[in-house]
Symmetry: C2
Subunit: 346 residues, 2 copies
């Protein structure tokens, strides 16, 4: 006998025009049979944790050739799509058995039938909370690792600036940079976040960009001799101030520009000629391009986790109904560390 259950989904109402709002999303319910079709090579999963990521807001907009180079846009009337940690309920794929846990691209819903792409089967012998696979041992972790080590070519003793430094990726980049002996400063949007960076995560310094009347001065105060590496998460005015403070042969890894995605008129960036004056290398990347580095990343990061040398900050919101608020909160800096949506614990 096949069990049929209710399946809640988070649906995009219509393309968003400016910053995503909760009302752009709607919760609907349908039903789903807890069984995959024989011969389909699919698996049916129960989604436990969903990753809330800034790039998702870009996919909520009407697609153009720029955003389509990143990922396919969401479809109005259909669920959001993202990275999740899920449990296999039924499988017609010999590589997966009922009870396995996977990290996979899933719809924002309770149960999803997937064929590809499954990112990885989760090794439950690595004794960490399952939610970590939406962040530290998933996209955020690999993004921080590849973006810092592969794009920034860091050297011990260099100065590193991280914007959105208390975010999912930023707080890991800062710690990776400290672990290799860099001088690290972060910017964030509240006093509590600045405290977290300096007092808990070991950043050498940090500032609240909302309270700095002049970002250039703030950066000059923190980096009197300039910045070797900028890990870019926000764009706009911050990037403009950073360019003035980069050192010769500096590197900028462009992980995101969250401040700019939803502006009708984006910030004016004046200081691009500094890229030539200072021979700066500025490079965009997404972690999907570094998927083959995942085993190397695990080798790097697991010892630090075991030895307690890495602090991972998660901000877990419970219940699919609260998904819209959790996602929209990212664009207002509401999250502390990695924003996770817990759909179910088991």
């Amino acid at each position: 006998m096949v069990t049929t259950v209710m399946n809640k989904q988070v649906i995009l109402r219509d393309y968003v025009k400016d910053s995503p709002k909760e009302s752009d999303l709607v919760i609907v319910s349908n039903t789903v049979e807890l069984k995959v079709k024989s011969g389909s090579s699919t698996i049916l999963v129960k989604n436990l944790y969903l990753s809330c990521d800034p790039y998702m807001g870009i996919l909520m907009r009407e697609p153009n050739s720029s955003t389509m180079a990143l990922l396919d846009a969401y479809v109005p009337g259909k669920p959001l799509v993202g990275v999740g940690v899920s449990k296999v309920i039924d499988s017609d794929d010999p590589a997966f058995a009922k009870g396995d846990y996977v990290s996979a691209v899933v719809d924002w819903e309770e149960y999803t039938t997937i064929k590809t792409p499954i990112i990885s089967k989760i090794d439950v012998n690595i004794n960490v909370p399952l939610s970590y696979y939406t962040g530290l041992l998933g996209m955020a972790g690999l993004t921080a690792y590849a973006g810092f080590f592969e794009i920034c070519s860091p050297k011990k003793g260099e100065t590193v600036f991280v914007s959105a430094a208390s975010g999912a990726v930023g707080h890991l980049v800062g710690q990776f940079a400290k672990l290799m002996g860099c001088y690290v400063v972060g910017s964030a949007g509240s006093k509590q976040k600045v405290d977290l960076l300096v007092n808990k995560l070991g950043f050498d310094d940090a500032f609240n960009y909302k309270e700095e009347p002049d970002l250039d001065s703030a950066l000059k105060r923190c980096f009197p001799k300039g910045i070797d590496i900028y890990f870019e998460n926000v764009g706009g005015k911050m990037l403009d101030a950073v360019l003035l403070n980069m050192k010769k042969y500096g590197r900028i890894s462009v992980c995101g520009m969250i401040s700019q995605y939803h502006l009708e008129t984006r910030d004016r960036v004046h200081n691009l000629p500094d890229i030539m004056f200072k021979r700066i290398r500025m490079q965009g990347f997404v972690c999907g391009d570094f998927q083959d580095r995942f085993p190397k990343f695990l080798e790097y990061v697991l010892p630090y986790i075991k030895e307690g040398k890495l602090n991972y900050v998660e901000d877990i919101v419970k219940g699919l109904d609260n998904g819209p608020a959790a996602l929209v909160g990212l664009y207002h800096g509401k999250n502390f560390g990695k924003q996770v949506l817990e759909v179910a614990r088991e």
Copy 2:
């Protein structure tokens, strides 16, 4: 007996505030003895050809930490400094004999006493006009070579866009790209320049940016499938349109941003998030960082020159008195190819 001669110089009157004007420069005369001091390890040269380069306008401005990362600014009341081709008149340096030709950093004047930096002694067995050492076999050539091959990582069949394509560097980059089998389009500022690119230099296509109401449309017309490599010489609005038309994993080498150096308010560049969406690598460089590649560059370029496979376009203005006009003309696109100032033929 020591001969004393008149020595004209081109002096910076005061720091420039906007685009350099002829009146920012003044010709003065002093006298010079045609003999070096014994024990000084210097050489005295007669300057034959002086290179006119866009970066010189940056050095005419009041220096700041950004421009100082490029080179030391000129000093009001003192001569401009640039790259020249000069003949040794007297030498207290055993490496140079009277009658040798050198490529060196010299003041803008008729006679200069120099110690360092001499860029290279000129091998007169390479049978090309001496003026070529201010361009094709000097800074412009090495800039085009290093900027294209080292920064852009080109592959046969890729699409290449060059702005200021009829300029000293641009017209060489385009030909290097054609020689390796790329599809090459250039932009320039007049019909004659566009004709030169397509009919004489072998560009696949070219457009006059001044006659295009919409640069994005012009680029979409020339590159329906997008741009792999952008050789950036101008910045501003052109860069903004290019970003929209770059392909995934595209590369931008930032050789210059001549449109932006002297603006009170620089152009708004909206499309920087495309650097992330498309994983673009954008890198500034100056040829001085690639001086060690010069022998390799000669090995590459000399056969093409001998076989007549490379067209080198020089725009030679005669007489030091005409130096200010030649230099200022660069900022109004008056030059065809490499702008050279001939101070003396021998």
